[in-house]
């Protein structure tokens, strides 16, 4: 499915979501509440069948945290960028998608580790790279006077 | 007899007579024991070191490398330097290891190796124990070593060591069977268990030639099972470097590690020496039926040389295995023994018995 077709079908299916044509891929922004339901539909609906989550990025925006999912359908070969923002920046929380794509389990652990985003209902939300009590280095207000040398 | 000039019987006999005349019988026997012990100890230490060096050079050649070159000419002193290093290293013992068994294990392993060497005939007259049940004795003592390995693995209080030791136990117990059966095949053929008699029986033709098909099969089986018995080559799962770090001797350091290391190479020597003695004629020179001049030339090479040439040849083949094949898994190693080698061996004994009964041999 081409990007334009995808936009049409998506608008029909998800009237509440904001759908835009990005630089390369179709970008769809959903609310945090509808994330899990939308993702479920995106994977299980035959016309989309986004079964391959290839990238999960947590972003620290000034007011809140964003999570960006890059999805691809192995069958149809179309790509969708699913975006969601958390309500809070200091204690961000969002529903987990690890029950839909297993790989999200580990990518979410990474996002939790580096950005401190809490994923609700995640079965195994532990730090992945860093020690407990380290702080969240990818946040913009992270300070580490020992290891980071400003130039 | 061309052998006479190289016969050690007169030499050993003269020493014995000389000692018996000068000292009381008890003292003379004690001195003889000491002499034999020292000679064997020196031989084993030096040959072990040489084998380590040879292994490194051969392995380097397989891998298109040079091997040790820095210490001494062509790196000849490398293993001696290594040995000195091992001697000087600190002996570290895990805190919760079983002190007694942990320290006992390397000795059991190395003593078992020494015991087995005693029956090997190096040359006419150069054999310290000439049992009439030599083969039986050899298979018996060579399986004592596994107790040391099991103890080492258990007492180190390390999971890797324990897994390694258990693998080793399962493996050696199974392959003991194949080694014994393939030797038994040759005992059926030779009609004796005495090593000197077995060698003597190959004066005209080595058993591997005169025994033809069953002997060749027995030889191949013996090589495979022998490799497995020494925990080497594709069967080195007891110390499987990429899985178990160093297997049963993970926790050993310094001289205790050196003992395991040396024992491995002595065992390699023993397996090769038994293969050379039982299948390849021991110290007997290579003879072809009617080529008198050829046979005569061969006679001029001393029997000791013959023996060691054969041993080194077999060792090379075993090294070739090690540096070519991937390692087997623990269940496959048992499958190989119980589903392949054992049935082949049993059939082979029958075949050999038929050959002997029908006198269908050279």
């Amino acid at each position: 499915m081409t990007n334009d077709e995808l936009i049409l079908v998506l608008t029909e299916k998800f009237p509440d979501a904001t759908i835009a044509k990005g630089n390369q891929y179709v970008e769809m922004t959903v609310t945090a509440e509808s994330l899990h339901e939308t993702a479920q539909l995106l994977k299980e609906t035959e016309t989309f069948s986004f079964d391959y989550l290839f990238c999960l990025t947590g972003v620290d925006y000034p007011e809140n945290m964003g999570i960006i999912y890059h999805l691809e359908s192995v069958k149809h070969r179309h790509v969708l960028v699913l975006k969601v923002r958390t309500a809070d920046r200091v204690n961000p929380a969002i529903d987990t998608l690890s029950d839909i794509w297993i790989t999200a389990k580990y990518h979410e652990r990474e996002a939790y580790d580096l950005l401190g985003i809490h994923f609700n209902n995640h079965t195994d939300l532990r730090r992945l790279f860093l020690e407990d009590g380290w702080g969240f280095p990818l946040r913009k207000d992270y300070v580490d006077e020992v290891r980071i040398v400003e130039r | 007899m061309a052998f006479n000039i190289y016969d050690f019987t007169t030499l050993t006999h003269d020493i014995h007579v000389g000692l018996a005349e000068s000292f009381s019988p008890v003292l003379a026997t004690t001195i003889e024991w000491v002499i034999v012990g020292v000679v064997y100890l020196l031989f084993v230490a030096l040959f072990g070191l040489f084998l380590v060096y040879a292994e490194r050079k051969v392995c380097a050649a397989f891998q298109q490398r040079l091997g040790p070159t820095r210490v001494g000419p062509w790196g000849l002193l490398q293993t001696i330097a290594d040995f000195i290093k091992l001697l000087m290293k600190e002996l570290i013992m895990p805190r919760k290891a079983d002190w007694f068994l942990y320290n006992l294990a390397p000795f059991i392993v190395i003593i078992a190796s020494f015991l087995a060497i005693a029956v090997l005939p190096f040359a006419p007259g150069l054999q310290s124990l000439d049992f009439d049940i030599g083969v039986f004795y050899l298979t018996a003592v060579s399986s004592v070593g596994v107790i040391g390995i099991l103890l080492a693995g258990w007492s180190s209080n390390n999971k890797y060591s324990l897994i390694g030791a258990m693998r080793s136990g399962a493996q050696i117990l199974s392959y003991e069977l194949s080694v014994s059966l393939s030797l038994l095949t040759m005992v059926v053929f030779a009609g004796t268990m005495q090593f000197s008699a077995i060698v003597e029986g190959q004066r005209d033709a080595w058993f591997i030639f005169s025994g033809h098909i069953p002997a060749v099969i027995a030889f191949v089986v013996f090589l495979i099972a022998g490799t497995a018995e020494t925990n080497r080559g594709p069967f080195d799962l007891a110390e499987a470097e990429s899985e178990l770090v160093a297997g049963f001797h993970t926790e050993y350091s310094g001289i205790k590690f050196a003992m395991f290391f040396l024992a491995e190479y002595i065992n390699l020597f023993i397996v090769s020496a038994v293969a050379a003695t039982v299948f390849l004629g021991g110290w007997m020179p290579l003879h072809f039926g009617n080529f008198e001049s050829f046979n005569h030339v061969m006679d001029f090479i001393p029997p000791v040389m013959w023996f060691f040439m054969k041993v080194l040849g077999v060792i090379f083949v075993i090294m070739w295995f090690k540096w070519t094949f991937p390692r087997l898994r623990v269940d496959q190693i048992l499958t190989l023994e119980w589903k392949y080698l054992l049935p082949i061996n049993l059939v082979n004994i029958l075949l050999m018995a038929l050959v002997v009964l029908t006198k269908f041999h050279f």
């Binding site: 130039r151 | 380097a60 050649a61 298109q64 490398r65 040079l66 070739w320 540096w323 070519t324 082949i344």
Partner: protein, 160 residues
């Protein structure tokens, strides 16, 4: 009976594949003079690195002890690791103008990742990559180098 034949065949097939493997290694073991390794410290005299090899940043000086560095600091900006520091000094030229010149071009080899960005950015071609790769020293302080030699000055004709 069929399975028995398969059993026998599998033995021979297995042994055959093992022999093929032994042939490959055997080919090499009997030609030990065709080894591919080098004896490194011994072949130092004949060892020539490729001309683009990036061993360290150096500043070539000519016979008059002159270099081309103007001390503009572009290399310092381009370095991702902060391994270059330029210390410049102000002098008054005979014409009475104030002029900034390089005092010390400090290079921390210990922090350098040899990415070539400074060399590529240098507008006058004052720094290049050297081929020396033997950087082991006993003291970490020795890895901090001053690239312009003492008493050197900028060569005539380099545009500022």
């Amino acid at each position: 009976m069929k399975s028995f034949i398969e059993y026998i065949v599998s033995i021979f097939k297995g042994v055959w594949t093992l022999l093929i493997g032994m042939k490959v290694t055997g080919k090499y073991v009997f030609t030990p003079w065709k080894h591919v390794t080098h004896s490194y410290p011994e072949n130092r005299d004949t060892l020539v690195m490729f001309e683009r090899f990036r061993g360290e940043v150096i500043m070539p000086h000519d016979a008059n002890n002159e270099h081309k560095c103007t001390g503009c600091g572009i290399c310092e900006l381009n370095c991702p690791n902060g391994s270059i520091e330029i210390i410049s000094k102000s002098i008054v030229t005979p014409e009475g103008k104030k002029k900034r010149l390089i005092d010390q071009h400090i290079y921390h080899l210990g922090m350098c990742t040899l990415c070539n960005l400074c060399v590529k950015a240098c507008p006058t071609g004052a720094i290049v990559m050297g081929q020396n790769f033997e950087h082991a020293v006993w003291d970490r302080a020795k890895l901090t180098k001053v690239l312009n030699q003492p008493g050197s000055k900028i060569s005539e004709g380099v545009k500022e």
